[in-house]
């Protein structure tokens, strides 16, 4: 997305002072009910239409996944998983993949460009592409493998949760287009409430482990799933069971920053004060053992004049 003037920025990449945040807004969420998704890809079409993006036409790779992966032009992709857990019982698990809009976004934590990634008070994590420098740190930071760097302009792209639509009170384009009502949008609280009713229904139908996917390892997400097999999210095209920001990224973009900065500053500080205390080590300086130059030094045993 481009930068819209906003008063409700909760977090801004590579920025230590507060951003404009006087406007309050409730946290929103998109709830994707995998159990009612038919894999029609209307959401994918709506996404490319609203964002006015046209991906290259690819080749069939033997599955219904089209395109086969997220790309800078395809911000959401239906992932089709054929799963046989019990003999003679094929399950077709179809997950709408895309940015999860983490409450604690790894991309934003890793991003070194001020304001290239922002999180609004409503929880949406947005790439402000004009500030992007193309370093790819967001890719390393993301626990869901979502951001994609364009070969055309070296900028990172991903789902914006239609932040432009949401800002004016509309639902994301994919939500509007879904013909079965599998994609819901509202406050995060309302989405949890609705999801509970879905879990009751699914459990009645024999899915005893049905659950809402709102992983606490990233502080929860603003895109949530209703999963029939909530105990095995990996079945859904390797949706991580306990996603979290990698400890290596945590170190690199966490404690290493102040520690290294302090260590560099202290080294320069001690070097300067070493000079103040000890002074230069000067081979050319006349010393008392040289010739008597008439100068009486502090450590000279001779009495001062």
């Amino acid at each position: 997305m481009s930068s819209l003037q906003t008063l409700d920025i909760a977090q801004r990449s590579a920025t230590t002072a507060p951003s404009p945040s006087i406007r309050q807004s409730p946290e929103v969420a998109k709830l994707i009910d995998v159990s009612t998704c038919i894999g029609c890809k209307a959401c994918q079409v709506a996404c490319m239409q609203w964002n006015d993006l046209r991906d290259e036409i690819g080749a069939n790779a033997g599955t219904y996944d089209n395109p086969t992966d997220l790309t800078p032009d395809s911000w959401t992709v239906m992932r089709f998983s054929e799963v046989v857990q019990e003999e003679n019982r094929l399950e077709w698990l179809i997950r709408k993949d895309g940015c999860m809009h983490c409450a604690e976004p790894g991309c934003l934590k890793a991003c070194p460009a001020p304001g290239a990634i922002v999180q609004y008070a409503n929880g949406i994590v947005d790439f402000i592409s004009e500030n992007c420098i193309g370093c790819g740190y967001c890719v390393a930071g993301c626990p869901f493998d979502v951001p994609r760097i364009s070969k055309k302009d070296n900028k990172a792209y991903k789902c914006s949760l239609c932040s432009d639509r949401v800002a004016v009170g509309l639902e994301p384009a994919c939500v509007k287009a879904c013909p079965t009502g599998a994609i819901h949008f509202g406050t995060k609280e309302d989405m949890h409430e609705y999801a509970e009713t879905r879990l009751v229904d699914l459990k009645e139908r024999g899915f005893a482990k049905a659950a809402v996917y709102d992983p606490p390892g990233v502080g929860g997400t603003h895109v949530m799933y209703v999963l029939q097999h909530g105990d095995k999210p990996e079945l859904y095209h390797n949706l991580p069971a306990n996603p979290r920001i990698s400890p290596m990224v945590g170190l690199w973009k966490g404690i290493a920053k102040p520690l290294a900065t302090a260590a560099i500053g202290l080294t320069a500080f001690f070097a300067f004060f070493h000079f103040v205390k000890v002074g230069p080590n000067d081979a050319e300086a006349p010393d008392v053992l040289d010739v008597d130059d008439g100068i009486v030094r502090n450590d000279d045993p001779r009495p001062r004049a």
Binding site: A14, T15, T16, P112, A113, P114, N131, I133, G134, C135, G136, Y137, V139, A140, D145, I149, K151, N154, S246, M248, V249, L251, W252, A256, K257, A260, T261, A263, I264, T267, A268, A271, H274, F275, V278, G279, P280, N281, D282, A283, E284
Partner: protein, 203 residues
């Protein structure tokens, strides 16, 4: 005042090429490391240009450093006198040079700095290539890219601290910056700081 040649023209060009690349790589690298340094991207024409230039500057620095490494490898092997020199670091920092064992072309501190820089430069160039976009990062598993990013930041921090010490030592020990700028030192400088080297070249 007798003048002694310590560094040839090509040695000095080599050194300052590494030094200039280091300053540019450190300034652009710090800009990506901590928001406090983010303003430094403007020295390079903005964020995208800093991102584009940083790795190329780094590769030039490494290649130039590689030459220095080959030049000075043999002059930097540690011996028993060096260990004693290091044990007496208090005398070193207090300017009590007369109490230290005689020093050859390089003292133990300079030798330690040499090896520290060798290690840091090798780690930096390998890890840097590993997360260089758009060229190489895409071919590696993401866990390796993350590890490389972390190691790159650590090696860079150690190198920056090392260079601050290196530059300060040059300011502290008067005549050293001149040695690398003009290539010459005075006889007194050589006798005071590198007595064994002085005897060696006067054989």
């Amino acid at each position: 005042m007798k003048i002694i040649r310590r560094y040839s023209d090509s040695e000095r060009v080599n050194h300052w090429l590494v030094a200039i690349c280091f300053v540019l790589a450190a300034l652009s690298g710090l800009a990506f490391f901590h928001p406090a340094f983010a303003f430094l991207v403007h020295l390079f024409g903005g964020g995208p240009w800093a991102r584009i230039l940083h790795p190329f500057i780094g590769v030039v620095m490494f290649l130039a450093f590689l030459l220095m490494m080959l030049r000075y490898w043999h002059a930097n092997t540690m011996d028993a006198g060096d260990k004693q020199w290091l044990r007496q670091w208090r005398d070193v920092v207090a300017n009590r040079e007369d109490r230290l064992p005689e020093v050859g072309r390089y003292n133990a501190g300079q030798k330690a700095m040499f090896w520290l820089m060798v290690i840091c430069m090798i780690v930096l160039v390998i890890t840097g290539i590993m997360f260089w976009r758009p060229w190489f990062a895409g071919f590696l598993p993401i866990s390796l890219v993350r590890l490389a990013s972390l190691l790159h930041a650590i090696a860079a921090t150690v190198l920056i601290i090392g260079v601050i010490v290196h530059v300060y030592a040059g300011i502290w020990v008067k005549g050293s910056i001149g040695a690398m700028l003009r290539g010459t030192v005075t006889e007194r400088w050589a006798r005071k700081h590198h007595a064994a080297w002085f005897r060696e070249i006067n054989k």
